[in-house]
């Protein structure tokens, strides 16, 4: 169960109403329109102390771009060389030693941008806010006036305190161990990591999140990512037990020896650059219909549905993996032009054709 389902569900995160396929339970107190549908535009509820109430089921996901590459917005020189080298190795191994998805260890900071596999539940009480993830782990954010511990025992999920800045819940976290990854690609962090999250519920159905990362031992300057998340109506969380019937890990070998030798020249990579749009599918959970393939230095990148760029790791001269969301093959036509891309996944294939126009 460890890896396959998690990747599958991450794919599902691109769809809007996947939760409803699992369980349909009306959410109590949900504002509804005249036709009975949930009304996400209704005002955000308030707790008994007058603060916005963040309680509820949320899809706390930053989208596959940042989930794959959290430093997408940083310049190359802002990443310490050791951190870049470790990231490249983990990426090249296709995440085979991922502590979360393979070893079933706690998600650590990745919970902040991925929120487990499906919806996560926020429970807000005046002194403490808990975020419950579907992998059965939780975080606690204390609002009782305590300070962050000065010399904490490093922990997987860190220590978190919060305060209200107007209608925004500001959460500061530190005291992480250095064994977790910041993203699915494998960007590392040190025990010096500090994170600041800002939660602002703008309506019943929407919350804006800003997450600032500050880890001077691995990254030369702090950076912030912003994303919006949606309330998940009329369903409930299901259990996800990473270790249940776990048979994947021994099959995860990363790239084969042959695949590791693959070097795709820049001029070949340049032939793949372009915007591809879905022409046909054989039944797939991958709902993105627009793929943008770009080149950054010697690194081929892919962005799905405008969701941020993920690096593509070469498996052959024409086949690549972004680790998340399938394997991609660029297919030449009779003239040798690469105008077709096939995304292979367990659930089915997506055939996308290049949009005509300048590259």
């Amino acid at each position: 169960m460890a890896v396959a389902l998690r990747v599958f569900l991450t794919t599902f995160a691109l769809t809007v109403s996947s939760g409803a396929q699992w369980l349909t339970l009306p959410t109590k107190g949900l504002p509804r329109t005249a036709d009975g549908k949930p009304n996400p535009a209704a005002p955000a509820p308030r707790a008994s102390d007058g603060k916005p109430d963040l309680s509820g089921l949320w899809r706390l996901n930053a989208g596959p771009g940042h989930a794959a590459n959290i430093v997408a917005d940083l310049k190359d020189e802002d990443v310490e060389p050791w951190a870049e080298a470790l990231y490249k190795r983990r990426l090249g191994d296709l995440g085979r030693d991922d502590p979360w998805t393979v070893e079933c260890l706690p998600a650590g900071p990745r919970a902040v941008i991925m929120g487990g596999n499906g919806p996560a539940r926020i429970i807000q009480t005046p002194g403490v806010v808990a975020i419950l993830y579907d992998d059965l782990t939780y975080r606690q954010i204390f609002l009782d006036g305590r300070t962050l511990p000065k010399d904490p025992n490093p922990s997987w999920m860190g220590y978190s305190i919060g305060h209200w800045d107007g209608d925004t819940l500001v959460v500061e976290s530190s005291g992480f161990n250095d064994r977790t990854w910041l993203d699915m690609g494998g960007h590392p962090h040190t025990e010096a990591l500090k994170m600041t999250e800002r939660f602002r519920r703008t309506s019943f159905g929407h919350m804006d999140l800003r997450v600032t990362y500050d880890d001077p031992k691995a990254y030369r300057k702090p950076w912030t990512i912003s994303f919006g998340v949606g309330f998940v109506p009329d369903t409930e969380m299901l259990e996800y037990v990473c270790g249940e019937n776990e048979k994947d890990s021994k099959h995860l070998v990363g790239r084969t020896a042959e695949e590791k030798k693959v070097i795709v020249p820049r001029e070949v990579l340049a032939k793949y650059v372009g915007v591809y749009e879905t022409a046909d599918t054989t039944g797939t959970a991958l709902t993105a219909s627009r793929f943008e393939v770009t080149l950054a230095g010697d690194q081929l990148m892919i962005a799905m549905a405008g969701n941020g760029k993920m690096p593509l790791v070469p498996l052959s001269q024409t086949t690549f993996s972004p680790r998340l969301l399938g394997t991609y093959e660029f297919v030449a036509d009779a003239t040798g032009a690469f105008n077709k891309m096939i995304a292979y996944s367990t659930e089915g294939d997506v055939i996308a054709v290049r949009r005509p126009g300048p590259r």
């Binding site: 079933c104 706690p106 009480t125 808990a130 606690q140 006036g145 270790g243």
Partner: protein, 262 residues
């Protein structure tokens, strides 16, 4: 942090539960402001008038739900012997975790009742709509929605499907929908997927909470039976610690853990 031979050790850990407590004196705190405490004998309440169960609770370690024990302000009372069906009794007498394997050794969820029976503290988070139990044991949790009905066909799960309601000042939680893969306690008292747990929680005073469990499982026990226990509120500032079963768990990753066949 990971105690790789935990399942076998648990049987002995009960003896150490009292001794182990001072270790938890190191729990984060100190900088925490003193929580407002209700005077002894008075039950703190939420704005909606319901008893306020919020807090971090110390509770008896119950490796054997049949027995009764008392330690400090906490106690628990079992029925003495359990009303096993003949087949279930034979299976229980044959059960040897060292031979048969204990699923908790593979870091699989303890399940609902065994999470309450584990030795570590439990935090209750309460809003009018939900009660959440945060277990220190493996940093697991369970959520109880208030005033809802069970789904007609609940998904079988490790922790079951719970619904809660108030009967006066007593919280009543009804839980069904178990996958039948867990055991009730460390000793290995078993249950089936027909397990139905009725749980009542009553705040006795500012410092104490009583929990009564009724175990109803006609496939395993001839009649429903009860276990009652008293929780004690932990000191202000004492909180849950993080617990990762998988951390450095070489017994598991190197294949030394004997998993139950089914």
């Amino acid at each position: 942090m990971k105690n790789t031979i935990k399942p076998l050790l648990f049987a002995f850990l009960g003896l150490f539960a009292a001794i182990a407590q001072p270790v938890f004196g190191q729990r984060s705190g100190g900088s925490t402001p003193t929580a407002k405490e209700a005077p002894a004998g008075e039950i703190p309440r939420l704005q909606n008038g319901k008893p306020n169960l919020n807090g971090v609770w110390n509770h008896p370690y119950v490796p054997d739900m049949a027995k009764s024990t008392k330690a400090g302000g906490m106690s628990q009372e079992g029925p003495g012997t359990l009303p096993f069906t003949p087949a279930a009794l034979a299976a229980f007498e044959k059960y040897d975790p060292a031979v048969d394997g204990d699923y908790t050794g593979a870091c699989l969820p303890f399940g609902y009742l065994r999470s309450f029976n584990a030795p570590y503290p439990i935090q209750i988070m309460q809003t009018p709509e939900y009660i959440a139990f945060l277990f220190e044991q493996n940093t697991w949790f369970h959520v109880v929605p208030m005033g809802k009905q069970h789904p007609a066909q609940p998904e079988p799960t490790w922790f079951g499907d719970s619904v809660g309601k108030w009967d006066g000042d007593t919280l009543v939680i009804d839980t069904i929908g178990f996958n039948g893969k867990t055991r009730l306690d460390t000793l290995g008292h078993q249950h089936s997927d027909a397990l139905h747990v009725i749980q009542t929680l009553k705040r006795l005073d500012a410092q104490h909470l009583q929990m009564e469990l009724t175990v109803d499982d006609p496939k395993t026990y001839t009649t429903p039976w009860k276990n009652t226990r008293v929780f004690a509120l932990m000191k202000p500032g004492q909180g849950l610690l993080e617990y990762s079963c998988e951390e450095n768990n070489r017994d598991l990753t190197q294949g030394h853990i004997h998993l139950p066949a089914k």
